[in-house]
Amino acid sequence: GEAGGGDDNGNEGEGNGESGGSIGLLLPDDVTTRYETFDRPYIEAKIQELCADCEVQYSNAGNDTNAQKQQFDALLTQGVDVIILDAVDSAATADWVADAEAEGVPVIAYDRLAEGNVEAYISYDNERVGELQGQTLVDSLGGVTDPRVVMINGAPTDPNAGMFKSGAHSVLDGAADIVFEQDVEEWDGGIANEEMTAAIDSLGADGFDGVYVANDGMAAGVITALNSAGITGLPVGGQDAELAGLQRIVSGEQTFTIYKALRPQAETTAEVAVALLRGEDFADLTPDSVDSPTNEGIPSTLLDPVAVTADNIADTVIADEFYTVEQICTADYAQACQEAGLS
């Protein structure tokens, strides 16, 4: 998707009358499928629907905090009226929000609870996601007693990876024996493969009963490693409900993924943003309240993530039109789809 280019005229945002206005949207990275493919189009579409004259100024930080700070400043320079911020590093944003506040620009924390005086927070809680990952893994381990689990976590430098990790730990620490645990730089599938192979080598092919993988991208590498060691049928779970991950779930290589219904999250956010733009009340959109390290009682919407397995794909991802059956059931997976009852 091309942003800006010809169709943006941020400089005209001076006239913040009743009808028009501009909303800044900052997303954190461009290698994970969701942001470019879902969050952004959903938010933009909803804003357009609610406010035809509004425009969205979108930037993606490529996982770099300082880059995001500059994009944040750029939005202020352009004179946007509201900022939706999905922070690369939610702990670093207190000053930014204060800057925006000084200019009278409200900030909505999206997906990650940015520190500072944000107006609202709409998200799936990352710790919750980690907990759900852990819980689903434990569930899919079924009857195994004293299950042994390998954990392949996200990038050691990514604060959000830490949240998934601690969420998962909060469940797994009691329920299973963590026999091998590694962080993977850059969330890289190839490195995940090497880590998994090392786990297999040091534990033996039957030295563990399930694998926690922080996201679907790395799950691909982990599953490749398992396959090449001749191990199949172990529970392996990821996150993000990526197309490739769903296909693996259909074909039975991967056990589950975590699906966050992005449409309601995005659309609620858009509604809150437009409400802020127009100075309307949005209390009914944000029934919950959370505390951040800097602020208390932030109005928020906390959504519940869903674990997707082969059994509930049709009811979740497909029902939400997140992906269509055609997208998932390519030639390679047609057979498996039949068996899973997708058509």
């Binding site: 930037s59 930080a61 700070k69 750029a74 590093d89 000053d95 990514d158």
Partner: protein, 427 residues
């Protein structure tokens, strides 16, 4: 080493020709005529000969500004320009270190990691352990210098190529950085820390910016004039007063326009003042001290420098120390800008951008050629592109492509304009 030294020959010995006779100047040398026409002629010759110095970069900057202003309408606002002047400080200070290392003919791949490590050390000391802010800052910079010294020792004393030492540092220090940060993903800047002021303090009194501009202009004109007078006294070719005044006028124009613009927003940023101070100091060191001369010599021909009695190992070692300290200092600016120290600070494209800045600014990768101000020019180019693209809300992949393309174009311009010179260069 001092004024009183005697050369074996020139003091008392004869010139073997007729007494007092001086060699006629080489008739093949196309000397510059005096006066205005002389300048025009000289300029034309330099364009044809490809000796344009930093003119291509400056033109590039102007083009970038025009294009982005046309596209966004907000690029040339005082706010954006003021922001740019703050953003360039961190990478720019790091680029000064890289320029020094490049002058040596070496490269330092570790500066990103060192910046991150130092920021982590500062944050852990001052926030977690409650050490005094200024002390923590000094310790963080000292840590950067120490790390640089370690690199320097391995390179200069042990003889490992600098590329490899700093590559190892690139990996190793970012490990240490993560380890220092420990449990914390990010440590916020305390409200009253200097580090916050580095990027967030502005001298809001408008007189501050104008005073600085006046000082710079006066200093430049005065020093040039004194220098040229001494040359004239020594019967060496000297620039005429008019030229000094024209150049002084240019300096005045740039500094006062900048001061005016900055005052339109929030005033003179402390970040810019610190960056300028580093630039001026480094420039003085490089051009006016024996040490600077030694850096150029080692970068040009290390063996010749050694034979001239220069302690090559010491020069190399200290340059890496300085580069480490500057990386640490720059890292604190990045921490200030990002709102705190984090495990990922200094990773990503920072290293490449800093090196690119030094090279775009006109410092050679092959040693012995360059100037400190390339850190300023190059960082300005890169930051202008980034800011412009941000204002245009370009998606990240397009940003990557455009940054790559502009980087290439900037250097292509430079290479083509230097081509004649290069062909003429000897083996």
């Amino acid at each position: 080493m001092s004024d009183t030294q005697k050369d074996v020959v020139s003091d008392a010995d004869a010139q073997p020709q007729a007494p007092g006779e001086q060699l006629a100047p080489d008739p093949r040398l196309l000397v510059r005529e005096r006066g205005l026409m002389g300048y025009v002629e000289d300029f034309r010759r330099r364009i044809r000969g490809g000796e344009l110095g930093s003119i291509p970069v400056v033109i590039g900057l102007i083009i970038i500004a025009i294009v982005f202003e046309a596209q966004t309408g907000t690029f040339m606002t005082p706010r954006n320009l003021s922001n740019i002047s703050v953003y360039i400080a961190g990478p720019g200070i790091m680029a000064v270190g890289i320029v020094l290392v490049l002058l040596l003919g070496e490269i330092d791949l570790s500066i990103g990691s060192v910046a991150g490590l130092s920021a982590a050390i500062w944050a852990v000391l001052s926030v977690t352990h409650g050490v005094d802010d200024v002390v923590s800052i000094l310790l963080a910079i000292a840590a950067g210098a120490a790390v640089g010294t370690v690199h320097g020792v391995f390179f200069a004393k042990v003889g490992v190529p600098a590329f490899v030492v700093t590559l190892a540092g690139f990996l190793g220090w970012s490990g240490v950085q993560i380890w220092v940060m420990g449990e914390e993903g990010t440590i916020n800047i305390p409200r009253d820390s200097w580090v916050r002021d580095f990027t967030d303090f502005y001298f809001s009194d408008i007189s501050a910016a104008y005073t600085l501009a006046a000082l710079i202009t006066a200093g430049y004109v005065l020093l040039s004039w004194r220098h040229e007078r001494r040359r004239a006294e020594a019967q060496l070719a000297a620039r005429p007063l008019t030229e000094i005044l024209i150049r002084g006028g240019l300096v005045a124009l740039i500094s006062f326009v900048t001061a005016y613009t900055l005052n339109q927003h929030r005033g003179l940023p402390l970040a810019l003042v610190l960056f300028l101070a580093v630039l001026l100091l480094a420039d003085f060191m490089v051009r006016r001290t024996t040490y600077g001369r030694q850096i150029f010599a080692v970068g040009g021909n290390a063996e010749a420098a050694r034979r001239a009695g220069i302690n090559v190992a010491r020069v190399r070692l200290t340059v890496f120390t300085i580069a480490g300290a500057l990386a640490a200092f720059g890292g604190l600016f990045l921490a200030g800008q990002g709102g705190g120290a984090s495990k990922s600070l200094g990773s990503g494209n920072l290293l490449m951008n800093v090196i690119a800045a030094a090279v775009i600014g006109g410092t050679s990768l092959f040693g012995g050629r360059g100037w400190i101000w390339s850190a300023l020019l190059g960082t300005l180019v890169i930051q202008s592109i980034t800011s412009g693209l941000n204002l245009m809300n370009m998606s990240a992949e397009i940003q990557y492509m455009i940054t790559g393309a502009v980087l290439l174009i900037a250097v292509v311009l430079d290479s083509v304009s230097r081509r004649t010179q290069r062909t003429a260069g000897r083996t």
